[in-house]
């Protein structure tokens, strides 16, 4: 770097740039908050969905699956599983029927021994998630 460009100029660009872009980010965050009600399916955010999210978190489902593409890549995407399976009952049936000892040689999902209430809640949570406007992602039903 040439002699006329000094350390204090570089420092000023750093502080100015950091502050400016952080404030811009905060402003964009406000704007995003304003637009979310049209996209995030909050009208269906019921008590049951909230319980379902808790079940999702307390069992660390994200440790194997992705949800809207974020999480682990060991097991299928679940943001659209409600659409892929077609009903809450199908989701509940699947979770309930996981063998406790697994399937020899294959990846398998643990048996979480969820109560009926928890099963219904997690299915409701996944239904709610599938109705979030995710800009047409994933590209197809396989997730």
């Amino acid at each position: 770097m040439s002699g006329s460009f000094t350390k204090s100029m570089a420092r000023n660009i750093f502080y100015g740039g950091a502050v400016f872009f952080f404030l811009l980010f905060v402003a964009l965050t406000f704007d995003t908050h304003g637009r979310l009600p049209d996209r995030d399916n909050r009208q269906n955010l019921t008590e049951k969905v909230v319980l379902g999210k808790k079940v999702w978190e307390n069992n660390d489902c994200i440790g194997c699956h992705t949800l809207l593409g974020e999480g682990a890549y060991f097991a299928p995407e679940l943001g659209n599983v409600y659409k892929r399976f077609g009903s809450k009952e199908a989701i509940i049936g699947f979770i309930k029927s996981r063998p406790a000892e697994g399937v020899p040689g294959r990846r398998s999902m643990p048996q979480f021994n969820l109560s009926d209430e928890e099963l219904d809640a997690i299915a409701e949570f996944l239904k709610y998630t599938s109705e979030i406007n995710s800009a047409n992602w994933p590209p197809n039903i396989q997730g």
Binding site: K7, A72, Y73
Partner: protein, 460 residues
């Protein structure tokens, strides 16, 4: 070592390396579970092994950053640490809390752990990388505050250099953004939105300040180039980091329910994020070419040059690969993401911690300037073994990812996830074999600490 109190760094570095071993052992378990699905099932399900792998990574990097700060700040500020006793006490608190958390993951089912630790009082568990029980998170905050207090007081009473200052800013940023780990709204979109304020604003924001400061410190030491020049570069690099990286957060806001203008903002700004990484490469090579001394610690110089190169490849090149919204539409949440995550974390943060350890540890152990040539040769072997392994791990995962994207998302008849996983198993086997070579590299690395021989003379 010029200041007595720098010696606390040694504890931190030893713990970091120990936990690194744990991280990689669990990495090889995960890799095996990818191909032998019932390996250790149901005793250690995949999600449990994964949180051990990723949390150990983060914790040992934090130990490394703290050790780096305790080593570097006294020397930069030309004064003893404010309180070495506090540093030692916090070390043990952090280590014990970390160990208990990992044991908790391994010994009881996660839902049980949530219950035992009173997660309902302030639910923060069950999110990727932030799986720790709430009490552990509170412990992390307390340790971080004590640590920051200690370092800040040291900086305030000593000489103020840009390097110490940038490091301090980075560390404060790390602590401040971690606070978003306590915000878990019921609304999934908001939850995801602010989750990235921890994860992205860490690795593509404030951690880069820490990275830059450590690298600048080691480069001054091994090259003897004028501080003014190095610190100017440091400011330029971190300016570019934050100018691109903050709005660059938008590359995570494409498909989670956020407004679609983020596809533009995220694509444009994150596409510029490789620039500061590239600047780091130019910086390091320039400084080494302009060196005013031949430092006898060749291994440290190798790490210091390898860090920016691998960070540029992993974060810059592999990040750019999938960061544009139209590409990310197909690659989002696939093995491509995993490929990038591995090379970026290794290249940037693992390597910078190993750089400072390589430079500081011989001095902390009372050597004049460097380890014996024999020990250095072994360390350089481990550099190449681990670095080449991570390159191949990344390449195999990229191969797996391309096929996954093709078969599952693009092909005319997209196939189900699990069917596709079976078809690409060969790549997972290759990744696992390479992972074992990485582990061997790590063993060689540790062995290099136990090799004797005559020391090189200091030349500085």
């Amino acid at each position: 070592m010029q200041y007595q109190s720098q010696s606390v760094a040694k504890l931190y570095f030893i713990a970091a390396i120990g936990l690194f071993v744990g991280q990689i052992l669990f990495g090889t378990i995960l890799g095996l579970q990818y191909v032998i699905g019932d390996f250790l099932f149901p005793e250690i399900p995949f999600n449990v092994a994964r949180m051990v792998h990723t949390n150990l990574l983060i914790v040992w990097l934090l130990f490394g950053f703290m050790g780096a700060a305790y080593y570097l700040v006294p020397e930069e500020t030309e004064t003893e640490l404010f309180s070495p006793k506090l540093a030692v006490a916090l070390f043990w608190i952090f280590l014990v809390a970390g160990a208990l958390t990992i044991l908790g993951y391994l010994l009881v089912p996660y839902a049980k752990l949530a219950e035992m630790t009173g997660n309902d009082l302030l639910p923060t568990m069950g999110r990727e990388f932030l799986e720790q029980p709430t009490i552990t998170k509170i412990g992390i905050v307390i340790v971080a505050l004590g640590f920051l207090f200690n370092i800040t007081m040291t900086v305030l009473k000593g000489r103020k250099t840009a390097i110490a200052w940038v490091l301090l800013l980075g560390l404060w940023g790390l602590a401040v953004f971690f606070l978003f780990a306590f915000y878990v709204p019921d609304n999934l979109v908001l939850d995801k939105y602010y989750w990235w304020w921890v994860v992205h604003l860490w690795v593509e924001g404030v951690w880069e300040l820490i990275l830059g400061a450590i690298l600048a410190f080691v480069l001054i030491k091994v090259t003897g180039v004028d501080r003014e020049v190095i610190e100017k570069w440091l400011y330029v690099i971190i300016a570019l980091t934050l100018i691109t990286g903050i709005i660059g957060t938008g590359h995570h806001y494409y498909w989670i329910g956020t407004p679609e203008y983020w596809q533009w903002l995220g694509s444009i700004f994150s596409a510029l994020e490789p620039i500061p990484f590239f600047a780091m490469v130019v910086f390091a090579f320039n400084m080494v070419n302009r060196r005013r001394r031949e430092h006898p610690n060749k291994a440290a110089t190798l790490w210091a040059m390898g860090t920016p190169v691998m960070a540029f490849l992993g974060a810059g090149v592999w990040g750019f690969l999938h960061t544009l919204a139209p590409v990310n539409y197909y690659t989002h949440g696939t093995q491509i993401t995993a490929a990038h995550g591995h090379m970026a974390f290794y290249g940037a943060y693992v390597m910078v911690v190993l750089t400072i350890i390589s430079y500081a540890m011989p001095l902390l152990r009372g050597r004049a300037a460097a380890n014996s040539p024999k020990a250095q040769r072994l360390e350089m072997w481990s550099f190449w073994l681990m670095t080449i392994s991570i390159v191949f791990i990344t390449l195999f995962l990229t191969g797996a990812g391309i096929l996954q994207v093709w078969l599952q998302r693009i092909a005319e008849n997209p196939e189900p996830f699990m069917v596709v996983q079976d078809k690409i198993a060969l790549f997972y086997w290759l990744r696992e074999i390479t992972g074992v070579i990485f582990l061997i590299g790590l063993v060689v690395y540790i062995a290099s600490f136990f090799v004797g021989g005559d020391e090189e003379e200091a030349t500085a």
